[in-house]
Symmetry: C2
Subunit: 248 residues, 2 copies
Amino acid sequence: MRPDEARPRLAALGFRPTDVETLAAHFLSAEAHGQASHGLARIEWLESWPELDPAARPRRLVSEPGYERWDGAGALGYLTLAAVVAAQLDSPPARSRLVVCTRTFPTGTLGYWVRQLAEGGLVALLTATSPRRLSSPTGGDPLTGTNPLAIAIPSGDGAPIVSDVSMGAVTHGDVLAGRAKPEELVPFGGPQAHKAFALAVGLQLLVDALVPEEGLGAVLLVARPEADPAPAFRELAAGVRLPGDRAR
Amino acid sequence: MRPDEARPRLAALGFRPTDVETLAAHFLSAEAHGQASHGLARIEWLESWPELDPAARPRRLVSEPGYERWDGAGALGYLTLAAVVAAQLDSPPARSRLVVCTRTFPTGTLGYWVRQLAEGGLVALLTATSPRRLSSPTGGDPLTGTNPLAIAIPSGDGAPIVSDVSMGAVTHGDVLAGRAKPEELVPFGGPQAHKAFALAVGLQLLVDALVPEEGLGAVLLVARPEADPAPAFRELAAGVRLPGDRAR
């Protein structure tokens, strides 16, 4: 699919213009930043969903100063996270806020969402579950999703620092695209894969314990920074590439 | 050091009896759970601190429903985290609470603290910074601590599930004890060590951005669970060892 086909094909699926724009921006950003498995191929994937409901809208069910709960309510996870991010930027927490997103899938590249929050001046940490594809390195059935953890920190001197790490050695998208074999979709780390597996389990159960409804979800922490460590950190790094830098 | 020497030697350092008990319990638990690098050897290490102040007390500087800030104020990080954990169990959040701990070091095995919170019914996520020892896999000076991430989830059928993962391939304690070479203290993951390094950077800057004072600190998220996913997860795991199980 060519980049200029993204918007017409999303519109043909029945999404309203603002949602077409939100979805196209995410997919095109993924393509531009070397994350093709979260890019335009996902539009073809959405075209294969018999249950796709382009009219569904995420709903904010609970809104308190330090806590929100959202329900995807049948909308794509991308659209739920976009609405969540916009709501946080529109009304940032005085100190911090936990945002629990139930029935929220697919969520795309989590770094994309936390980067927007950091560009708006907020510290953000985000994780999300996905279908169970990772088994323990000791064997057995798949127990967890690839469950990425993304963290973004604003920087007084410009671009945020954005870390976005999946616990899988390869992505499911890589498997779908034939760039990796299904048996390569294991916790990353080789002989120390038990560490990535433990992180995947912890993040899986964190989300599963905080969402009231069974199913895939996301958990976001946003907070106002009390300090601006990124510029000095970049200086200390002295040219070493930092997480998220390639994405710029 | 024999286990029965722990309390007398901590008392000899000048700690009051309740702090002796808190410290000994942590070190003996680490020994019992195969984490000797966080165990009794740390008492000898504390004996070598010229700046040790056994009379110092952590202080809660900010206390709001969804946010607290604590200052170690010269006390050992262990004692700060013990006070923080006790305070959360004593007054759990209605929904969730972010607890930022400034000047908090050393923090020991983070799984030990979050396990206590999960045993008290709270979901907990905790990270802490430590002296910079991890370099980027591409080279350069050390930029981050080993920055563990610990997550604990209560379980309706008994023991919590506790994930506690350091981003280092070995621990600094292993290096001190001669069980590992200094050059082995790198981000874990071998050819995918860039992932553990990215996590270490994200967690480093998360803490550094949330603590108002430069220096080592800890960040804790506690929340009331909305679901009890652990029993079904254990069933799905069908005997596969889960994170934290060995520690029981």
